[in-house]
């Protein structure tokens, strides 16, 4: 089954993404506390793409597709902003974040703890972030 939503790159659209993901997980009878985590991971990636890759430019779009079978749920988030090089990403330590009073850096930490697989690829001018969660 495939579900899809397209939003413009504004942080104000994040609740729409969460509501959409929540309704798909609800249809698939994912337990509430587990669904909350999955919604969070998708929200974090979308927030990063809106803010960093697309600089909150509302003329840019972000496209989220959710596909699932009995074993996995796969989220694909497509955008045309600046590509993110995941190979160069180094997770900061909590000590580093605390001592520098950083507010950023926690989002991807959460996504890595929630999702079973994270991939960032580029295809035909699109950046695609794929998140896979085993059910």
């Amino acid at each position: 089954m495939t579900n899809r939503i397209t939003i413009s790159c504004s942080k104000d659209n994040l609740p729409k993404i969460r509501k959409f993901v929540g309704s798909v997980l609800n249809e698939n009878k994912v337990a509430e506390v587990e669904a909350h985590k999955i919604i969070l991971a998708v929200d974090e990636v979308c927030a990063n793409l809106i803010i960093h890759a697309n600089e909150c430019n509302p003329s840019h779009n972000l496209d989220l597709t959710i596909k699932n079978d009995s074993k996995n749920i796969v989220f694909k988030i497509k955008d045309k902003g600046m590509a993110f090089d995941f190979t160069k990403y180094k997770e900061p330590s909590m000590d580093e974040i605390v001592s520098t009073r950083r507010k950023g850096g926690l989002g991807l930490m959460l996504v890595r703890r929630i999702m079973d697989k994270i991939e960032f690829t580029t295809e035909k001018n699109y950046n695609i972030c794929t998140l896979i969660k085993k059910l």
Partner: protein
């Protein structure tokens, strides 16, 4: 969307957050926390009406951990299981005091 209210009784500052704290609304929590940390020594945060928190909201609390280490007393309370698990994913209950109820939060302050 989040509604933030700050009150003060005796020497205790109480911040109440109701709604959702995400990348868009975390600025409101940040402003309330910054103001409280400028003048207060004992702060409790009621999160019983908080339905959702993303890393942007967690970041607000984490950015004040150095202040907590330097003597400001902060206790969060009333977190739903869904919200608490987000704190647990990053091990934050080891760094920030979390209580179940307001009474327990007040006891932790003293």
């Amino acid at each position: 969307m989040v509604d933030i209210k700050t009150t003060k009784e005796n020497d205790i500052c109480k911040i109440v957050a109701v709604g959702e704290v995400d990348a868009s609304s975390s600025i409101e929590l940040d402003n309330a926390m910054k103001s409280a940390f400028e003048t207060e020594k004992k702060i409790i945060v009621d999160l019983s009406g908080l339905e959702y928190i993303s890393s942007a909201g967690l970041g607000v609390f984490v950015s004040h951990l150095e202040d907590i280490r330097s003597g400001i007393n902060l206790v969060l309370f009333g977190l739903s299981p869904s919200v608490l698990q987000v704190f647990e994913l990053l091990g934050l209950p080891q760094l920030i005091q979390i209580a179940s109820t307001e009474e327990e939060a007040l006891n932790k302050l003293n």
